[in-house]
Symmetry: C2
Subunit: 119 residues, 2 copies
């Protein structure tokens, strides 16, 4: 009777440990799936950014050749307003979309100034 | 003879002004085309970012529910190394891709902390 009780306890412990393992595995699987999606999106973002810089590189060379200023305040305001609207449509924080554009434009202006100083 | 000379001069001035106008119009057209491409890419970036935050929102809720820490240093190092490689493949500055990921991750951690403090 005592050994039966111990055995029952052991079976219970083994089952519990299997459950924990299963829970852990399910949790890992779930996080893994999320991370795969994030990885796919990040690759898309990097390639989109590379394409964007290709265009702004062409703009920079064009502006330098035609002695146009690297920054254009009116154009930036237009871009910010447009992106805030798009962000809001996509349920993304408009403040963040503006910070994001500013982050990208700062990098573009650095590129343009480099082209200008090299040209 | 004098009036003929003036007329010639006027014709020349009109032609020059037409050329400038044409040059201006060609320049505007060229910049407009570049800007349309940038606008398209920015829309794609905003929608990609919105999708990324949807996934990280789910991760944040999942981590909060399972008492997992919001940040994961090992995962971040892995993401940075991967993005730098992708950036280099796409002819994008790897330093910039790392700054970009850091910018996004900082925003994600702010979201996660908000979920955690609200939960």
């Amino acid at each position: 009777m005592k050994s039966g009780h111990i055995r029952l306890h052991l079976v219970h412990e083994v089952l519990k440990s299997k459950q924990v393992q299963l829970g852990q595995r399910k949790m890992d699987e779930k996080l893994k799936q999320y991370r795969e999606s994030i990885n796919n999106i990040d690759a898309a973002l990097v390639f989109m950014l590379a394409e964007r810089f290709k265009v702004t590189q062409a703009v920079g060379e064009y502006k330098a050749k035609n002695s146009l200023p690297p920054a254009d305040g009116a154009r930036e305001q237009e871009q910010i307003a447009r992106l805030r609207q798009l962000a809001s449509d996509a349920n993304l924080d408009p403040e963040f979309s503006e910070k994001f554009l500013r982050f990208i434009i700062d990098e573009v202006i650095r590129h343009h100034e480099r082209i200008r100083s090299e040209g």
